[in-house]
């Protein structure tokens, strides 16, 4: 019998304040998922302190990896690859996972695969829903990221929209601090909002001029701060639960609104709102400038855009999507990232999807928070494509989604 060999990957994640390691078989079967959180320490400081995060990762990294291997019942010899988050994130924090993974890969002779943190978050859906396959649209929302992405294929993405200022989770943290709920803001606002009226105060739903899918949250945040100021000047007490609920509703409205607009437009054959991206150049400095990029994307720096406003083969993003979908419609929508644990966002996105006949996917909270199982999953699909990293793999704090981290 032709039995295909299982691919076993150790994933390592240290991009922010969670030290994590996991063993994943064939991308979807999680044998272990160890997470060592530093939240208690950072709570003392009202936010993640990068230097402290780096120090704690250094202290915990081996124990977490060892625990993941032991829980999985695997030895290093059983591994096909060692995968690690190489960006984006806090550079000092990323470096711990990357350095440990490289030391481990060098010592074991195993293949090394650098993984994009957001690709990891998206991939968490493959673990939670074994039947899920691309294409689908995914909203990635976390403390550091807000991306609306069309997943064309495994490891192939088109960014439809992204935040122009604060990440959604960042806005939660800032507002939570302002109304005295403290850190971390996401779960605390979620909890308070359950006791409040989401329409007590109508905070503006921010829009980005000239972009249908990009997000802005600094306006919502500012109007909350202005409201607090006004109330303070008038000597009136605020209802914390109402502010939390109203702020949360404004953010959720924007997220759901943009996401559903994208699905509807694309399914109506309207690709106008999707910006052409720069031609993706591999990071490898030795590669020639004509190298074919991995994906098209909006955003990037001014110099990126000068590289060419079309995807590989001279194809526009709209044409690329037309070719990908080949007349078929988007029927699946997924949430990912830490803010995907927000109960209002989950409930309202689910409702919006069901109303439109879309299958809705959202990983359980343990796979929404930063974890390494998602890194092992994303790495599996890179592994199948033959993508490998060298021992010169670096931490890339500003790595963009889809930017190649592999030697070409």
């Amino acid at each position: 019998m032709d039995q295909k060999k299982d691919i076993t990957i150790l994933g390592i994640e240290s991009s922010c304040d969670e030290t994590a390691a996991a063993v994943v078989v064939n991308g979807r079967k999680v044998l272990s998922n160890e997470i060592s959180s530093q939240i208690d320490i950072h709570t003392l400081y009202g936010g993640v302190v990068p230097e402290i995060a780096s120090r704690k990762h250094t202290e915990r990294i081996n124990q977490v990896i060892r625990a993941a291997m032991e829980t999985a019942g695997k030895s290093f010899d059983d591994l096909d690859a060692i995968a690690v988050t190489c960006g984006p994130g806090l550079v000092g924090a990323l470096l711990i996972g990357v350095s440990a993974a490289k030391g481990l890969a060098f010592g074991t002779g195993k293949t090394l695969i650098g993984v994009h943190h957001i690709e990891g978050h998206i991939s968490a859906n493959f673990i939670a829903a074994p039947e899920l396959t691309p294409p689908f649209i995914c909203l990635v929302v976390s403390g550091g990221h807000t991306h609306l992405v069309l997943v064309r294929d495994y490891g192939e993405y088109v960014i439809l929209g992204r935040t122009r200022d604060d990440a959604a989770g960042e806005a939660f943290d800032k507002v939570a601090r302002a109304i005295g709920l403290g850190y971390p803001g996401g779960p605390k606002i979620d909890k308070a909002a359950k006791e409040g009226n989401p329409h007590a105060i109508e905070f503006p739903r921010g829009k980005v001029a000239g972009s249908e899918y990009d997000f802005t949250f600094s306006g919502i945040k500012s109007s909350v701060l202005n409201y607090l100021n006004r109330m303070d000047m008038k000597g009136e007490k605020i209802n914390v639960n109402d502010v939390a609920a109203s702020f949360q509703q404004a953010v959720v409205d924007v997220l759901v609104g943009h996401a559903m607009a994208a699905v509807e437009n694309i399914n109506n054959g309207n690709f106008d709102g999707i910006p052409d991206g720069p031609m993706r150049k591999p990071i490898d400095k030795t590669a020639d400038s004509g190298a074919v990029g991995k994906m098209a994307s909006a955003g990037g720096t001014a110099s990126d855009r000068r590289d060419g406003n079309v995807n590989a083969n001279g194809e526009s993003t709209a044409d690329l999507l037309r070719r990908t979908l080949a007349g078929k419609k988007i029927t699946k929508f997924a949430l990912a990232g830490g803010v995907a644990s927000n109960s209002a966002l989950r409930a309202q996105m689910k409702e919006a999807c069901e109303k439109r006949g879309l299958s809705f996917y959202c990983p359980p909270p343990i796979l929404c928070t930063d974890n390494a199982a998602m890194i092992g999953c994303a790495a599996y699909y890179e592994f199948l494509k033959g993508r490998r990293s060298g021992y010169d793999l670096n931490a890339m704090p500003n790595l963009r989604l889809g930017e190649s981290v592999y030697e070409q």
Partner: protein, 248 residues
């Protein structure tokens, strides 16, 4: 006894292999601060050049700090990963000791004083000598972080000739001239910075003196920064850090 040594605590990135009394490989670069990209490729290169079977390595030596926080951690995390892979312990060496150990044969008439630029008007430093008769490497003042004035005054009170070295020399050369009341010299460039080979040699010396006592479990090892993070310092001083901490 075979030791694989790595150095990334400061401006130098390096890898070395020591087998018994023989320093088989010693590869160092002092070029930009790209240790995260250079270190493991250098380790790989060294291994290939001397056909090292990693399974024969008995311990992984490294400088345990102080130094660049990030550099110390790159070395530490890499050493931990390697130690975990091989199932072998670490031999951590104080960074300042490892710089001092570049020199030899000072006798009791002279002392060695490495200085590393620690910013904020301070240096990472210590005082060392090789004893007159035994040539034993002696730590007269353990590594610490102090103002240059403080270490200069201590050296003056010892009354012995001083050999300065380390990356703090170019930063403090003029200040040293102003402060020193005893004769002093500066080590030549090939001996004046961290070297992976020296880390290996000092680790081997520890093993000869203490045997397995010099081993530290790779999982449990923590670097010595000699300094708290800025947030911890501010918090200890009663400053509200919630306004200064941002996600990056």
């Amino acid at each position: 006894m075979k030791i694989f040594a790595i150095e990334a605590s400061g401006p130098v990135c390096g890898a070395a292999v020591m087998d018994g009394d023989v320093l088989v490989a010693d590869y160092n670069i002092l070029y930009k601060k790209t240790h995260s990209q250079s270190l493991v490729p250098m380790m790989d290169e060294v291994s290939k050049m001397v056909e090292l079977d990693l399974k024969t390595v008995d311990a992984v030596a490294l400088t345990k700090g102080p130094g660049s926080f990030t550099g110390v951690r790159i070395g530490t995390a890499t050493a931990k990963g390697l130690g975990l892979a091989l199932g072998k312990p670490l031999i951590p060496v104080p960074t300042v000791d490892a710089i001092a150990y570049n020199l030899y044969g000072t006798g009791s008439g002279r002392v060695i004083c490495p200085i590393m630029d620690a910013r904020r008007s301070q240096v990472y430093t210590g005082i060392y000598c090789f004893e007159e008769d035994t040539e034993r490497f002696a730590v007269l003042h353990e590594q610490c972080v102090v103002e240059i004035e403080k270490i200069a005054s201590e050296l003056n009170s010892l009354g012995k000739q001083v050999i300065f070295l380390g990356d703090g020399v170019p930063v403090y050369r003029d200040r040293i001239a102003e402060l020193m009341r005893v004769p002093y010299t500066f080590a030549p460039s090939h001996l004046s910075r961290q070297r992976a080979g020296t880390v290996a040699a000092l680790a081997m010396q520890y093993w000869r003196e203490r045997g397995d006592q010099c081993f530290v479990d790779a999982d449990a090892f923590r670097p010595e920064y000699l300094r708290l993070s800025q947030a911890e310092r501010e918090r200890a001083a009663g400053i509200d850090t919630s306004q200064t901490i941002h996600r990056e």
